[in-house]
């Protein structure tokens, strides 16, 4: 016995099964991301500015990632429209661009993550703080790493500014450093005995990075999951186009709806995390 309404719509609701299902699922996803956004807002509003490192994310990279995701959103809907017009070849073309955009987004995100994990903050015993890189660009070093590796000192390349400085002063300092070129980032030697705390920009660094990695990693997992589903329907699942084209088009539409939701979340994530 065939399950009814997998291709044709129910006469009472006007919807086929998968569409009801995906909208209910997206409703649950709204609650998930909404809860995390609420957490971000309240954590940020309640935090001491000295502990909230805003302005550390790369805006040009984030903007490019936004444009990549917007492009994938339009190719997903164009691929569905191509199937509606019976053009399987054009559907395959647009959907392959979607998958490439997804992989590009994830590649850029992983580059951003790696950059964070080799970027450090040092709290010194005299109360000063600085951000920068350790010579050799190691990953995931902490205060305990210095004792474990029996290091007497570290060679540190400090950044031109610190996130506790007012934004205008940060931009001025960075602009001045850019003009100076390579000479701006002179390495300094910091004795281990002078270091109160050393942390990379990892979830454990601060509440900001904890919520940043939670939000973006969860979103990244959604991008990966969506890309895998779209790729399956594009590849091995494409046999259904020959046997049941209407049901296949519905699958493409429903996976596209999920993809648009993922894009929607990023449309809010980008300004909240990168710009504000």
């Amino acid at each position: 016995m065939d399950i009814p309404y997998t291709a044709k719509a129910r006469p009472d609701t006007g919807l086929f099964n998968a569409k009801v299902g995906i909208w209910l699922f997206l409703a649950s996803e709204v609650m998930l991301f909404g809860a995390l956004f609420s957490a971000y807002i309240l954590l940020r509003v309640g935090a001491d500015p000295a502990t909230w490192p805003q302005g550390l994310l790369n805006i040009p990279i984030g903007t490019f990632n936004t444009l990549v995701l917007i492009t994938s959103s339009v190719t997903v809907v164009l691929s569905w429209a191509s199937l509606k017009m019976g053009n399987f070849g054009r559907y395959r073309f647009y959907q392959s661009i979607t998958i490439l955009c997804a992989l590009g987004f994830l590649g850029i995100k992983s580059f951003e993550y790696r950059d964070k994990w080799s970027h450090y903050e040092v709290w010194k015993t005299d109360g000063t703080r600085m951000t920068g890189h350790i010579e050799g660009k190691p990953y995931f070093w902490r205060t305990e790493t210095l004792a474990r590796k029996k290091l007497d000192s570290i060679t540190f390349l400090p950044d031109a500014s610190h996130y506790t400085m007012p934004r205008a002063e940060q931009h001025k300092a960075q602009h001045h450093a850019e003009q100076q070129g390579a000479g701006a980032h002179k390495p300094i030697e910091i004795k281990t005995s002078e270091i109160k705390r050393l942390s990379a920009f990892v979830p454990g660094h601060s509440t900001y990075f904890a919520i940043y990695f939670t939000l973006t990693a969860l979103h990244g997992l959604h991008v990966l999951g969506g890309a895998l589903v779209i790729a399956y329907i594009w590849g091995p699942g494409a046999k259904m186009w020959k046997t049941d084209p209407e049901r296949y088009t519905n699958r493409v539409e429903v996976s596209g709806l999920f993809w648009h939701f993922v894009d929607l979340v990023w449309i809010f994530l980008f300004p909240v995390l990168y710009l504000l």
Binding site: T13, G14, A27, A35, S38, L42, V74, K196, F268, L275
Partner: protein, 121 residues
């Protein structure tokens, strides 16, 4: 989703999708451009950024997700979701000063910064 699935109707939709795509690209560049301006108050920056983001989200939801011509059942699901989301936000904000019995709420700005071992920053 429109009930009219003729080729002509789909072609018209495709033209709309391209226009919306360009609008989204422009919206993104406008958001980034506005961010470089220094508004007097932070809440002005937040309001403008979220306003532009909401417009972009509405375009994606309305046209790419076809919500502008969807069925009542989908609207019912979404209206219910909005109500639950509002309730969740309200509960979170309402409970933000609640602390376990026996402890005291101290605003973050009054807490002296300490390391994990208890020393001061």
């Amino acid at each position: 989703m429109s009930d009219d699935h003729s080729h002509e109707a789909i072609k018209k939709h495709v033209r709309t999708y391209i226009v919306i795509f360009v609008a989204l690209l422009v919206g993104t560049l406008v958001t980034v451009g506005l961010n470089s301006l220094d508004f007097a108050r932070f809440w002005v920056t937040v309001t403008i950024a979220l306003f532009v983001a909401t417009i972009k989200a509405a375009l994606v939801a309305g046209f790419f997700m076809h919500l502008i011509s969807e069925k009542k059942a989908v609207y019912a699901v979404l209206v219910t979701t909005v109500c639950f989301f509002a309730a969740m936000m309200y509960l979170t904000v309402w409970g933000r000063f609640q602390v376990p019995r026996g402890s005291e709420f101290i605003p973050a700005k009054e807490i002296p910064l300490k390391t994990a071992s208890g020393g001061a920053f």
